[in-house]
Structure formats: C-alpha cells, structure tokens
C-alpha cells in the first residue's frame, strides 16, 4: 500500500530500512544502488529540518514576517504552507533561533518583513550567574509556538509531520554570553561556561516537554554552534554532546528527535549518533558516504538527513540543479531529503517544489 508522505517521514525517522535510490535517471543512479523492483516501496519524502519560509511562501499563504514570528495564527499558516504549497512531508515552527535567549533576557532586534529576529545584546557576561527563568515555557514566544503546533496538528497533521524546533544547550549558551567569550572559555576555563550550558539544558528539557505536550510529532534540536567550523572535536565531546544527550534522554523516545548541526562534522558523526538522536541532519560539507560507512562498521543505524545546498542549488540554481543534488544525496545514503540548513527567504518557490518532486521520483528500497 502507498504510504502517505507523513508516514514515509515517520518511517524514515524510525530508521525503518529505507535508503532512497534514483531509478528514473539511468545515467545518474549508481548501479550499486539499483534495486530489483520487488524491494521498491513507496516514494521518498522531502522535508526541511530548518526554517523554510520564503517571501513567495508568505505571499501564497498570506502570512508574513514579522507577525509570523510572534503570533500563533500567522505562524501556523506560514508553516503549513510548507506542506500545502511546497509539498514537504513535515512542517515546523519557529523560524529563528532566538526564542530561548529572549526569555533569558537577550535584547532582540526585530527583522521586519524580510529578516528573522536576531540577538542585539547578550544577557550575560561570563562570570555572571545565569538564572533559570521561572515558568520558562509560559514566557516569551513559547506560548505562541505551542499554539501554532496545535493549529498545525489540526490543519495539516494528517498529511505532514509536525515538528517543534528548539535550540541545543551549547548554542543557547553561546547566545547568552556571546560566541567569542564562550569559545575562548571553552579552551581556557571550561568550568566557567558550564552554568550556562547546564541552565540551557534544563530549559531545553522543559521546552521539549511542552512541545511534546502540544502534540508535535517530532522534535528538532538545532545546535548550530556545536559545529566543527567553530569548535574542536574534543570540545564537542566535552561541552556539547553530553548536554544534547541529556535533552534527548528527557524526551525518552516519546517522539523522534532530529538533531541538526551546521558545517563540518566528519570527525564527530559517530559521537552525534551516540547522543541517542533518532536522525542526524547535516550539511553537504559532511562526507555522507564516509559517515554511512563508519556507521555500518559500528552497527549504527541512525538515519542521516540532507543535503541539498540552500545557496548553490536552492537559491542560485535551477530546478535541474536541485534535482541533481537530491539524486546525489540519495546516492550518498540519506534517508530523507532536506536542505542543508535554513532556506534563504528569497529562494524561488519553484526550486523548493523541485526538491520535493525530485525526491518523489526516487524510490525507497528495503
């Protein structure tokens, strides 16, 4: 029986077998991956692990930034467009990575209609004692985000996976004291930044629980600063991974958790898998075939999600360029197609739709 897109995504997140293969494009598909037709199942879904709102999507849905950052109804309407307009197998809120830091007291600069909110001022200086705000999930934009999740479940929950996205502890800590201060201290006085990472871990657990309570089907943890573009493998293992692990453990398999980290990760892919995440979302900077091979050797079954370049393909490329990257990602061994990272808001809608279409032209193989 044909699975719905939603079921395809959930099955992929459960790690159920599927590696997509390209069967329609003789020249492109690796013979290695060519399956006999009996083992072919349904089509492969595309999602966007990170933000996917674009100016065109705002026009189509009639929901615009900045309102969609703050109010549940437009937030949900814009996010739902991911499923109804683009055809993604999952929708997500919010659109930025400043929600937690704002509640901790960071000054936020509004991005208006064209940009996402950003951090204007960090709330702490290294050495200050961070205070965990009481009733964290009732503060700031979290109530609107939780309400948007409930609306999305009602509106598109039948066809698409509804994802709530939170920021990983290391990255929240970076937003609390500033990335430079955090990075320097990570080398010299790692103890001095532990209180921030600990606090961010505690509030991430509360936030994750509220996202589950609101009915989300999956949790995304974006830990963008825990990248090897920023820190060494040793620092990742000491100051990022243990806390990601704690947040994921607190979810306790109630819903699947996708962890997303930007940039280079080759040296820590098995460490990321060891956090217990149900899937790992990576950029094309990662050597996915090498990671898959390492995983196979270690008996790790964690699916990898990716890796269509948001600039080279989606923003600047043609629909054909996008399709080529979808096929390459499939050949590399991803379980679900997704852009590498946040989609730029001026990305042509046609290219996002081309990503979904090209993913649909792949076939799932047991």
């Amino acid at each position: 029986m044909e699975k719905t897109t939603r079921e395809q995504v959930l099955a992929a997140l459960r790690g159920e077998g599927a590696y997509p293969v390209a069967i329609h494009d003789g020249a492109q598909s690796a013979p290695l991956h060519r399956a006999d037709t009996n083992s072919l199942r349904s089509q492969v879904a595309a999602i966007s692990v990170c933000q996917y709102a674009t100016y065109e999507l705002m026009e189509k849905t009639g929901a615009f930034w900045p309102q969609a950052h703050y109010e549940a109804a437009p937030m949900a309407r814009l996010a739902a467009g991911g499923a109804t307009v683009i055809g993604l197998g999952a929708v997500r809120v919010p659109y930025c990575q400043t929600v937690e830091a704002e509640i901790y007291g960071a000054k936020i600069k509004d991005g208006g209609r064209t940009h996402i909110p950003s951090i204007a001022e960090h709330p702490y200086k290294l050495g200050d004692t961070p205070e965990i705000p009481a009733d964290f999930v009732k503060k700031g934009r979290i109530p609107a985000i939780l309400e948007a999740i409930r609306i999305l479940k009602r509106e598109v929950g039948e066809k698409a996976v509804v994802m709530g996205s939170i920021v990983g502890p290391f990255s929240v800590a970076a937003n609390l004291v500033g990335i430079s201060a955090l990075l320097k201290a990570s080398l010299r006085k790692p103890d001095s930044i532990l209180p921030y990472i600990e606090a961010a871990t505690e509030t991430a657990q509360q936030y994750a629980a509220a996202v589950i309570e609101a009915g989300a089907d999956a949790l995304v943890i974006e830990d963008m600063m825990a990248s090897l573009d920023m820190i060494s493998p040793r620092t990742y293992r000491a100051l990022a991974a243990p806390y990601e692990t704690r947040v994921i453990a607190s979810v306790g398999k109630r819903i699947p958790v996708i962890i997303h980290i930007c940039g280079k990760l080759d040296q820590v892919m098995t460490d990321i898998a060891a956090t217990g995440a149900d899937a790992i979302s990576v950029e094309s900077a990662v050597d996915i075939p090498a990671a898959r091979q390492k995983f196979d050797e270690a008996g790790i079954r964690t699916p990898i999600i990716g890796a269509v370049h948001p600039i080279r393909a989606l923003l600047e490329g043609t629909p054909e360029d996008v399709a080529a990257e979808v096929r390459k990602s499939a050949a590399d061994g991803v379980a679900l197609i997704s852009p590498d990272c946040a989609v730029a808001p001026n990305t042509p809608l046609a290219n996002l739709q081309a990503m979904v279409e090209a993913a649909g032209a792949l076939q799932e193989r047991r």
Partner: protein
Amino acid sequence: MSREEELHKGLSDAVVDMDEDLARELAQAVVDEGFDAYDAIEKGLSAGMEEVGRLYEEEEYFIPELLLCSDAMYAGIEILKPHIKKREDTVRHTVVIGVVEGDTHDIGKNLVKIMLESAGFDVIDLGRDIPAADFVRAAEEHQAEIIALATLMTTAMPAMREVLEVLEKEAKRGKFKVVVGGGPISPAFADKIGADVYAVNAAEAARLARELVSQGEAGK
C-alpha cells in the same frame, strides 16, 4: 641568533602558544632594550599569527585557539604601538569590513579582521548587521581599497548581494575590490553576485587581500 631575533622568535611563539602574559613581557623587553617596535610586530607577533593561520587551515587549531592567539597578539601590539616610529615611506592599505544586514554573528568577521590587521592592513570595522549603503559610504570616507563582507547565515545572503548592487547603481564598482566569505558562501555565489574574490577562511582572506592590493600597486 641575536637578542632581537630571540625576542622576535619569543613573541611569535607566545602568540602560537596563546600566552598573553609572555607576549606582554617580551613586547616590554623590546621597548626597554630599544629595539624597533614595528619590526617586533611584523617579525614577531604577525609572524606568529601567520603560523596560527596555518595551524587553523590544517585543522590543528580551531576558532577558540585562534581567538586566544589573537588576544596574545593584541596584548603585545598594545605595548609596542606607541613606540612605532612613523614611516612616511610605507603605503597603508585600508579595508572596510562588516557583517551584512540581517546577521548579528560576527565571529567570522572578527577573525578576518584579526588576520588583516596582523597582515598590516588598516581595518575599519563597521560591526554587524550593517545596511548595504553604510559599507559604500564608509569605504569612500576612509578611502578604502577593499570592502570585506561576511555572513554566517543563509538567510542574510541576499543582503550581501545588495552591497554589490549599491556599488553598481552608484557607478562605484570599479573603485573597490570586494572580498566575501562566511559559512554559507561559495565561490560560485561570489561569482554570481560579482564579488572580486571569495575567501574560504580568515587566513586566506588576509592573503587574498594582500594580493589584491599588490595587483593594484603593480597596475599604477
């Protein structure tokens, strides 16, 4: 090795070893013993930072190391700077640098600034989240030769193109070389928006900037 060379080597090592105190101490020794401050910066601190850049490219050092090394470099510079004898003969090259509008992540920009300064450029740092027109205005005001643009976010990339568009629109594109870089930026994107060069990291940005100005000098 002469005493002066010893001090240069010591300063370079202090930077590579992230030893701020030692950098300060040796810089003070350069001053007290009457050696040339400018040479101590160039052959000591900057040479050390160049080695740091190499270690970074080889993935021996990561950004935290780079930041601490630069702290050591600046600690030494702070002591040496007041003692630099003004040299009329050396041409100073100016770079205007900033993070484009919509992005407040300035770590990459700060690293490029460090490497440019250690390579001898005068750097006008506009900061982060900077509107396109401000880059052009600042570059004119400071008679810069190079505009360096950074962003870490895919969502802010349209703003990078805007700077090039403003230059074109005001018919000033020929006046400045434009260097772009940052996490999501690719050589193809740099080409597409009409930037002069793409730098993959901070060390390369400084190297390319040097090449750009020496081309300019050769062309004069």
